[in-house]
Amino acid sequence: MAPEKLTYMANQIAAFFRTRPHEEAVAGVADHISKFWEPRMRTQLFEMMKEPDSGFDPLVIEAGDRIRPVAKHS
């Protein structure tokens, strides 16, 4: 999808979890994206996160490593 839309959606999720204690917020963002984002969306997310100025909320960046990786199948 359009990169700015994906960034926007990820940051929306971060905005909801921001009021929670930091550790819980990071876990919340990672869990939400792992549970609801289809592999194509996560693949694109991981790709975009590699860019230095990705525009992602710091919470999303921090959650990055904990988001379910995408298996290389089909």
């Binding site: 999808m1 359009a2 926007y8 939400h32 194509r40 969306m41």
Partner: protein
């Protein structure tokens, strides 16, 4: 099968638990205290003659036909208005009573036409029955006296008392010459429907039923055409036009309405395979014998000439359609889908299940994706309506289920209605709510519009919080702020039932001065004091129930608002008993069911995530195939992936995403990018303009199955006629699955339900036999709750402890500015339903033939717009034109329209902003500009041409 005639007990049932024993005609009878003598007699099987009483309304005592004699009492009291007393001895038939009743009937008949043989009510007329019951043989007064029957009097002069038939309503007629002025219609309009459109005008012999004031006809009156008056009328005075056209029905089948999420039960009254009329079913647990204009009358679409009855295919959407056999269409579709998977990968195709089809059909469509396609690319229209309910209530309570049954409204003391317009969207529930409000319950409305509930006859909201669209979370948190800081919460309940630490955290958050009504006033536009008063009423007004709709969910913070509402209910202890709760009003007939059946891409039936290996194991064993543990694409994600070129094929059942989903241009770009779009529907809908395969669908009248309404009630849908295109929808899905190697062999929907019950704990004990026995059942229905579950969370929350979650307000990025200074919000109206595909093909169009833009007089004047003018409505996404309707129902700065008509395509305007948690689109907030216009925009004209091109059909040779 026979024509089911429900017993009319004459007066409503008493709810008293104390009983009274009396003797009627020598029989000993025990009934609840407060029961009328008439009802007590009927309960023992003795039918006292009657005309003005019927058990849908309170006793009135005007016809003087139901007289009885009671030992020790003087005179002949009316049995309908006489309550039973212990030891009473009643006689219903004596010489005196016989003479009196015959005399009364003589008077009635002396002013009634004697055209029984050609009368529409012949065979279904209580006046005729009563004449027979009392043995009327002669009318001593003759028929030439003063009367309402004849157009001319004996001397040939015009009879001023005669009024011609009023045929203005498209569905029923009012024939004053046949009226006996029993008032049943007037009372039904008041007591059952709550509209107060009818009255008795004049006195004595002059009295007659009148819609509105003198000279008004039914169509021009306040009448909402719910049918309650027609139901109540004992004669042919108020009569369905279909009875005039066809005659009396000869058998009936109980089934469930296919319109809104109230899920009313109806008797489909039939003559052969022809539907004569739909009559609300008294034993229906959702509607108790009431109906609205859609369910009662708007079924004509089912036999509309636009129905497509033959499968069609085409290689390209530029080609005309070609009618083909079922085999060819299914073979074409199956090979295309398999080729796409071979070329673009297993995940390149998916399905959209329908919230209008049955549970069984929905279950099969998601099974098609998971078991035959081998992916989880399944989604449903709930994505764009109540998906935030699933998330919000799931997080806080542990289940997405609405907490109450509809009957619970009878014990509500304070109703908080937010983002819902029940009188239009859920009319039968609205009538029940209004009835409770007339009994004294209080009402809080939170809505940008002054919806009808705010002020209607004998109903007024205590508080109307007319907030700016997009500020729900701020208002809900401000309500919590007041409850926390003024210590209005129920500490005992919270300590026992919820996580106390989490409440402390939430309370600290809510108590922050930034969340006070005063702080958010500038944002929401609602005076702080109004918010405070509403919060106090909700917290301390007795049983408080929240009813909400899509005005809550269809926002970028939809899920957050749902969480906020759950927080309010928990902190005030308003959960787990009758009269309280959090009640999502579901839009379509089977939204609840389509969610239950595993339509969402991340969860299997019963709301269990696909990454749960134990759950996958259940289905892998049942289906004999591996199931992917990855969430699939949601509808908006499918469209994005299509534009990206990785999603190529879609099977869409009973859903018109082009018209109903936001940002039409994005939807059409996604559809246009796909190589195989299969539309399975009863009409060539807008989505079908982009389809390569069209599979004709069946209406709810043509198949067996179940719908699950907003109160989790599983109701039977029963086939009353053969599928016009040859197959019920579940059969078509099975044929498609088998064309792709699915090897399914269901022979009846009951077998599908058996598979659902075997795999899904909340449905474990649901069988067609149980539904036959009980009529309906509310899930969870299993060994723990074999009779179903009317009220959730009675002894504890499904998740254990109720969970409070912070609800930080984040303003939507859809903001007004100089170019787009107004906020558009969207909704629906009573006579039309969803994208209008059904209701537009009925006479309901007399009430609403086009979408209009509601605009405040101030905003209209600034723009030089007059009532009825064409205006252009423009947003960042697109523009359309429609007519303006100037009304102070809107707040300044906010405009409103519906999305019932494809000519308007209101969703060209809406944006692709969506709920953070679920991608539920933000339909309810779009920044727009309104300007005068000459007519349809270029886009509308182009689309109209494209549609016409796209719908060309070449008949089979």
């Amino acid at each position: 099968m026979s024509l089911s005639k429900e017993i009319d007990y004459g007066t409503p049932a008493s709810k008293s638990e104390d009983t009274v024993t009396l003797t009627i005609d020598g029989f000993t009878v025990t009934v609840p205290e407060g029961t009328s003598v008439m009802r007590a007699a009927m309960e023992t099987g003795i039918a006292i003659p009657k005309l003005c009483s019927t058990d849908m309304v309170d006793a009135f005592g005007s016809c003087r036909l139901c007289l009885v004699e009671i030992e020790g009492r003087r005179g002949t009291p009316a049995s309908c208005t006489t309550p039973v007393v212990d030891g009473m001895v009643v006689s219903t038939q004596t010489d005196q009573l016989k003479t009196l009743r015959r005399g009364v009937m003589e008077l009635y008949i002396s002013d009634h036409p004697l055209d029984c043989l050609t009368c529409a009510a012949n065979g279904d007329c209580e006046l005729q029955d009563m004449a027979g019951a009392v043995g009327l043989r002669d009318v001593r007064y003759g028929y030439d006296g003063d009367n309402h029957v004849k157009t001319r009097d004996g001397g040939g002069e015009v009879n001023a008392r005669y009024l011609p038939k009023d045929e203005s309503n498209p569905y029923f007629t009012y024939d004053p010459s046949k009226c006996i002025v029993c008032s049943r219609c007037v009372r039904a309009c008041e007591e059952v429907q709550g509209t107060f459109a009818l009255t008795i005008e004049g006195r004595g012999f002059e009295s007659r039923v009148s819609p509105g004031s003198f000279g008004d006809d039914f169509l021009g009156s306040e009448c909402v055409s719910c049918g309650a008056c027609v139901q109540a009328c004992p004669t042919a005075t108020l009569q369905e036009k279909s009875i005039y056209d066809i005659g009396q029905p000869e058998h009936s089948v109980v089934t469930t309405c296919a319109y809104c999420g109230v899920g009313c039960s109806f008797k489909a009254e039939m003559r052969g395979e022809e539907l004569v009329r739909m009559v609300p079913y008294k034993d229906g647990k959702a509607n108790h014998g009431h109906s609205c204009v859609k369910g009662r009358f708007a079924y004509g679409y089912a036999s509309h000439r636009d129905r497509i009855l033959k499968p069609m295919i085409r290689e390209s959407i530029a080609d005309p359609w070609r009618e083909v056999s079922w085999e060819e269409a299914l073979g074409f579709a199956a090979s295309k889908l398999r080729r796409l998977q071979a070329d673009y990968g297993q995940d390149s195709i998916g399905v959209i299940t329908s919230s209008r089809c049955t549970n069984e059909e929905t279950y099969l469509v998601q099974k098609l994706a998971r078991a035959v396609f081998g992916n989880n690319n399944t989604d449903t229209c709930a994505r764009v309506c109540h998906s935030p309910t699933g998330y919000g209530l799931g997080q806080t309570f542990g289940t997405s289920a609405g907490t109450q049954d509809f009957d619970s409204v009878e014990e509500v003391d304070v109703a908080l209605v937010i983002g819902a317009n029940p009188t239009d969207g859920h009319p039968v529930f609205a009538s029940r709510l209004k009835k409770r409000l007339r009994q004294g319950a209080k009402l809080i409305v939170i809505d940008p519009r002054r919806i009808d509930l705010v002020k209607s006859p004998h109903v007024a909201a205590s508080h109307h919080l007319a907030l700016r669209p997009g500020t729900n979370v701020a208002i809900v948190t401000a309500l919590a702020h007041v409850i926390v800081t003024e210590k209005l919460y129920d500490e005992a309940f919270i300590r026992e039932r919820c996580d106390w630490d989490e409440f402390q955290d939430y309370a600290a958050f809510a108590a922050d001065p930034a969340n006070s009504p005063e702080s958010v006033e500038a944002l929401t536009g609602v005076p702080a004091e109004t918010v405070r008063e509403a919060a106090r009423l909700y917290a301390k007004g007795g049983n408080a129930a929240i009813y909400y709709g899509l005005g809550v969910t269809e926002h970028s913070q939809g899920s957050t608002t749902v969480i906020g509402l759950a927080n309010l209910a928990m902190m005030t202890g308003n959960i787990g008993r009758r009269g309280v709760g959090v009640n999502p009003l579901r839009g379509q007939n089977n939204v609840q069911g389509s969610c239950d059946m595993g339509s969402f891409p991340h969860e299997l039936p019963g709301y269990r995530h696909v990454n749960n290996a134990d759950v996958r194991d259940i289905f892998e064993k049942a289906w004999g195939v591996p199931i992917s543990d990855e969430p699939g694409l949601r509808i908006p994600n499918m469209l994005d992936a299509a534009v990206d070129g990785t999603f190529k094929g879609l099977y869409c059942q009973g859903e018109d995403i082009l018209q109903s989903d936001p940002d039409t241009k994005h939807v059409s770009a996604g559809l246009a990018a796909m190589e195989c779009v299969i539309v399975h529907d009863i009409f060539l809908n807008e989505t079908a303009n982009y389809a390569h395969v069209f599979l004709p669908g069946s209406t709810f009248l043509e198949k067996d199955g179940t719908f699950t309404n907003a109160e989790r009630r599983i109701n039977r849908v029963r086939r009353v006629m053969s599928p016009k295109a040859g197959y019920a929808d579940w059969e078509v899905t099975q044929l498609l699955a088998n064309a792709m190697g699915g090897n399914w062999s269901y022979t009846h929907p009951s077998e599908i339900m058996a598979e659902i019950a075997a795999t899904t704990p909340s449905f474990a004990n649901v069988t067609y036999e149980l539904l036959e026995e009980k009529g309906s059942v509310q899930w969870p229905c299993n060994d723990k709750t074999p009779d179903g579950t009317p009220i959730m969370h009675i002894d504890g929350f499904v998740r254990g402890k109720g969970r409070f979650i912070r609800t930080d307000y984040v303003a939507t990025d859809e903001k007004t500015g100089p170019r787009f200074p107004l906020l558009l919000t969207t909704g629906r109206i009573l006579s039309q339903y969803n994208v209008g595909a059904q209701t537009r093909r009925t006479d309901n169009v007399v009430w609403h033939e086009e979408d209009v833009l509601e605009i405040h007089p101030h905003d209209a004047e600034l723009r030089g717009v007059k009532d009825g003018d064409w205006v252009k409505l423009q947003s960042r996404s697109g523009e359309t034109s429609l007519r303006a309707k100037i009304t102070d129902r809107m707040s300044p700065g906010v405009v409103y329209t519906t999305f019932h008509h494809p000519a308007t395509q209101a969703n060209v305007i809406t944006t692709d902003f969506s709920d953070w948690a679920t991608n539920c689109p933000e339909y309810k907030v779009t920044a727009v500009q309104v300007s005068p216009s000459n007519g349809p925009t270029d886009w509308q004209e182009d689309y109209e041409n494209f549609s016409r091109q796209s719908r060309r059909v070449e008949a089979a040779e």
